[in-house]
Amino acid sequence: MKKAISINVNGTPHNTEVEPRMLLVHYLRDALALTGTHVGCETSLCGACTVLMDGQAVKSCTIFAVQADGSQVTTIEGLAQNGELHPVQEGFWERHGLQCGYCTPGMIIAAAQILERNPNPSQEEIRHGLEGNLCRCTGYQHIVEAVEYAAKKS
């Protein structure tokens, strides 16, 4: 039986009826057409589906949309404010933090969480904070530099 849910995504309230088994990542992509959040491994390992739920970075492939009822979700589409890139987005641009781009939305959300909790992280702390996000292209060095850039910037 479908359940009525109300989720605020990137500042916009959405009221939808969903099957309880619908995962948050599918809700965002298929119901709201916010395809910036990616489906990667589907086993809560790769982090491509990372979004902020009430300010906490979470893997949206391991959360049912019904669990997010009443919460505030921020996806990669909602990170820039008034046309200004978030410092982490700018860092990825300036420091070439991506190649194929598949992991990038999740990486950026996870990196934003790192800086929110620790504005001046060491390289080691950045790497530790990105443990839940896999990149198969960059070898991570440029991603770490992108986060360092964002830390200096913000």
């Binding site: 039986m1 359940k3 099957e19 309880p20 088994r21 995962l23 589907e42 086993t43 809560s44 390992l45 982090g47 990372t50 906490q56 970075a57 979470v58 893997k59 391991t62 959360i63 049912f64 019904v66 669990q67 009822d69 996870a110 969480q113 790192i114 904070g129 443990e131 839940g132 996000n133």
Partner: protein
């Protein structure tokens, strides 16, 4: 990977959750953070026809002190424990263990109660909870009861919770002064689960000797266990390198060790010994 269809309820109170569970215990599952259950449901290893989400019950996520006990609500996330400055001060084993679980996103959502009730043989919490000699408070249709950590883990993915009981709270005795604690693990590189995980909680007397030692070990066997032969080899003795090494040799005594693609039973036993030694040394170094 889509789970089979199920019905979903999110009760507002623990009483209501207990009533629903008692009514539907054969076909229902409790949903806490969901980071063990949802992956199992996506693989269709678990196919409950009803999910009772206890995530909307108020006041199940807390860390408080009551007399000589630390009380942790079952829905407290790993991150809340990892980030607790008070726990770092009075019982560092808890935040240290929390910080070693999965990754940031998993720790933001996964809960201590969910992990304990799931009783994965490679989960981190069972080692710490055993070493701390904690108590679990379970609520069921017949009321509340207390289960000691040692009686809680029964077998792989099996606890002594009754099908109609909900784990509500974890109570940890406040460590006394001169208590040394540490958690060390060998993480499976892909999953982050413990190949072995060693939790140490020991007390040094004024004479410099070990007064008591609790060692919890996870990852090695079908369920986490107390390494009682290590504990008795330490108790009453000087905490020197030789004693510690000799004691650690008993880390897997009498244990039927797991074997999988990543680590054979022999390798796990070896890791258990080496990491027990290192974890004890790490704990003592903090005194």
């Amino acid at each position: 990977m889509i789970p089979v269809q199920f019905d979903y309820v999110a009760p507002a109170t623990l009483d209501e959750a207990a009533r629903l569970l008692a009514e539907h215990q054969d076909e229902a599952k409790l949903l806490a953070g969901g980071h063990s259950l949802i992956p199992a449901m996506k693989l269709r290893l678990a196919q409950p026809s009803l999910l009772i989400d206890i995530g909307r019950i108020k006041d199940l996520a807390y860390i408080t002190e009551e007399g000589d006990q630390i009380r942790i609500g079952a829905m407290t996330t790993h991150y809340q424990i990892e980030a607790s400055e008070r726990l770092k001060e009075i019982c560092p084993l808890l935040p240290e263990c929390a910080a070693s679980i999965g990754d940031v996103q998993v720790r933001n959502k996964g809960t201590i109660g969910g992990s304990l009730a799931h009783a994965d043989p490679a989960a981190d919490w069972p080692a710490a909870i055993l070493a701390l000699d904690a108590e679990m408070i379970a609520v069921g249709a017949q009321g509340e009861r207390t289960i000691r950590a040692q009686d809680f883990f029964v077998d792989m993915l099996t606890t002594s919770l009754e099908p109609n009981e909900i784990l509500r709270e974890i109570r940890v005795p406040q460590p006394q002064k001169n208590t040394a604690q540490a958690y060390m693990k060998v993480a499976q590189p892909a999953s982050g689960f413990a190949v072995v995980g060693i939790a140490v909680n020991l007390t040094r007397g004024d004479d410099g000797r070990c007064q008591s030692a609790n060692i919890g070990i996870t990852g090695v066997a079908a369920k986490a266990y107390r390494a009682s032969n290590v504990e008795s080899a330490l108790a009453g003795n000087a905490l020197d390198e030789q004693t510690i090494a000799a004691a650690a040799a008993h880390a897997a005594d009498g244990v039927d060790a797991n074997s999988d693609l990543y680590a054979s039973a022999d390798y796990r036993r070896h890791l258990a010994e080496v990491y027990t030694r290192r974890a004890i040394q790490k704990a003592i170094a903090k005194l």
